[in-house]
């Protein structure tokens, strides 16, 4: 069964450093998403992406964040200058055309020291 994959599974970085989280969505999906879950809190929407542009973003997704689809298979989330409060689990999701359901990857645990 096709699934969303994410790399790395864990990332530790110093405050102020840039990180890139990578996702490979399900191959025939065209809608892509990033969510995050701070430890003990709910899953929060960050951004949606379609046709090489952002469809919608939350107030969390400020200028420090960017997304890109550099090739036909990868979808990345970049945090330019990480802050302590960026420590969270980051989930990528994808959705097929005509479908309502988003399918999630296993997540990347980001720890900012």
């Amino acid at each position: 069964e096709p699934e969303v994959t994410q790399t790395p599974s864990h990332q530790v970085t110093q405050m102020g450093q840039e990180v890139i989280l990578r996702c490979v969505p399900i191959s025939n999906h065209l809608y892509f998403y990033w969510y995050r879950q701070i430890l003990g809190q709910k899953v929060e929407f960050l951004v949606s992406f379609y046709n090489n542009e952002i469809s919608e973003k939350s107030e969390i997704f400020d200028d420090q964040f960017s997304v890109e689809r550099p090739d036909g298979s990868n979808f990345t989330l970049k945090i330019r200058s990480t802050k302590l409060e960026d420590s969270a689990m980051y989930f990528c999701a994808s959705r097929g055309t005509g479908q309502e359901t988003q399918y999630f990857g296993p997540g990347t645990r980001l720890l900012v020291l």
Partner: protein, 113 residues
């Protein structure tokens, strides 16, 4: 932003009995609802969904009930199995917008053998 609420952080049920997980929402523009299951160190896994034109959707042991007037939905698992032990998230999306899901804070279900 508490548009989707799961007021019970945890629930413990005996194997074979019914598990009922509850979710309330405040935004009357929500018209599509989903339940996701999440195991530790994994991403949310889609379980079952319901659109606002229905009041019930069933898939095997899982049934979701929607009460639009009360802005309430529930997930019934019967019979409950130890493998059902996980965190269950309720999610909702606004009319015609499957690009942004609002998640509840989750209910941790423990099914005791």
């Amino acid at each position: 932003d508490q548009q989707v609420k799961q007021n019970s952080p945890s629930l413990s049920v005996q194997e074979g009995r019914i598990s009922i997980l509850n979710c309330d929402y405040t935004n009357s523009m929500f018209d599509y609802f989903l339940w996701y299951k999440k195991y530790p160190a994994e991403g949310p896994t889609f379980l079952i969904s319901i659109s606002s034109i229905k009041d019930k959707n069933e898939d095997g042991r899982f049934t979701v009930f929607l009460n639009k007037s009360a802005k309430h939905l529930s997930l019934h698992i019967v019979p409950s199995q130890p493998g059902d032990s996980a965190v269950y998230f309720c999610a909702a999306s606004p009319i015609g917008n499957f690009n942004k899901f609002y998640f509840g804070s989750g209910t941790k279900l423990n099914v005791k053998p």
